[in-house]
């Protein structure tokens, strides 16, 4: 089950906790992986840890030209591109009344527009191959909203609507497009929270614990696998029961 031998996967945000775990899971299932991110150091480190079948592909997602070039670079480096995982994201939190146009635009650009550009870039080779998997990492916040994150929530909800639309268009070509909506996951970002903040969050999670990056990676592996071929246009919520849909 879930064998990705011979498949090539591009993962953005692979320098982060969730992206790194996703790359590791896909690699562990036999895929060749392209590790993209802005910080080369952690990408090199991860590539070194994975060994063969790992390529470092640095990219600044706020640079439109660099984003457009990335799918081709990835396909050239890996000899193909069968799986795209749009995981990279940034936050610029601010209460809505104080949110500047710049805070809004930068989050939309990196989290939503770059995802659109990468989806566009990979669909052509996937159509030719009559096989493809796109997994967009959204967020629980895109479904529930969150104070201070109007920009982030809009981008993550936008990702869901976009993914469903693309899923419709390419369904007959063997390409699936799905989202994963993580809840609170233990990463460098959530490490910064103090005990009181953590306690507040845990109180809202029926499982009374945060999720691990590996639990997001496992969901990604499933959606990227041949076995998930009949699953498209869905949002898989991985949140310990924090919100149920």
């Amino acid at each position: 089950m879930f064998d990705l031998t011979g498949k090539s996967a591009l993962v953005t945000g692979a320098s982060g906790g969730i992206g790194g775990a996703i790359a590791e899971a896909l690699h562990g299932a036999g895929a060749t992986v392209g590790l993209s991110g802005t910080r080369t150091g952690p990408l090199e480190e991860l590539a070194g840890k994975l060994g063969d079948r790992a390529h470092v592909l640095p990219c600044n997602l706020s640079d439109a030209e660099a984003v457009e070039a990335l799918p081709r670079q990835a396909a050239d480096a890996m000899g193909g591109l069968d799986i795209l995982v749009n995981n990279a994201g940034i936050t610029r939190d601010q209460i809505f009344m104080r949110m500047s146009d710049e805070d809004w635009a930068s989050v939309i650009e990196v989290n939503l527009t770059s995802t659109m550009r990468l989806c566009k870039g990979v669909i052509r080779p996937m159509m030719k191959a009559r096989w493809g998997r796109i997994v967009n990492i959204s967020s629980i916040v895109g479904a529930t909203g969150n104070p201070g994150q109007a920009n982030y929530a809009a981008a993550k909800a936008g990702m869901v609507g976009m993914s469903k639309s693309i899923a419709y268009e390419v369904a007959t070509r063997g390409i699936t497009v799905n989202c994963i909506a993580p809840g609170f996951i233990e990463t460098a970002m959530t490490d910064k929270l103090n005990d009181e903040q953590k306690g507040g969050i845990l109180g809202q999670i029926p499982m009374n614990r945060m999720g691990s990056p590996d639990e997001i990676a496992a969901a990604t592996l499933y959606l990227a696998s041949p076995e998930a071929g009949y699953v498209t246009g869905t949002v898989l919520h991985v949140n310990g029961g924090m919100a149920m849909f």
């Binding site: 052509r124 159509m127 030719k128 268009e169 390419v170 007959t172 070509r173």
Partner: protein, 78 residues
């Protein structure tokens, strides 16, 4: 010159699964040959590959019929 038309016809027949004699000069991919919008994108991709040319999106939109495709490709090759 007819070589281009034959190669284009072959691609259209294979891709859309239509009879060869239906692929006439004025046959519209969508209206006459049963293509959907995604098929037309794929036909353009196949033409690009077969003839080693680039067909930009705005030009691709003007290629509606078999005749349009043959004409465009001949011009692109010159």
């Amino acid at each position: 010159m007819s070589d281009v038309a034959d190669r284009v016809r072959k691609i259209v027949v294979e891709h859309l699964g239509v009879e060869e004699d239906k692929v006439t000069e004025n046959a519209s991919f969508i209206d006459d040959l049963g293509a959907d919008s995604l098929d037309t994108v794929e036909l353009v991709m196949a033409f690009e590959e077969e003839f080693g040319i680039e067909i930009p999106d705005d030009a691709a939109e003007t290629i509606q019929t078999f005749g349009d495709a043959v004409k465009f490709i001949k011009e692109a090759q010159q």
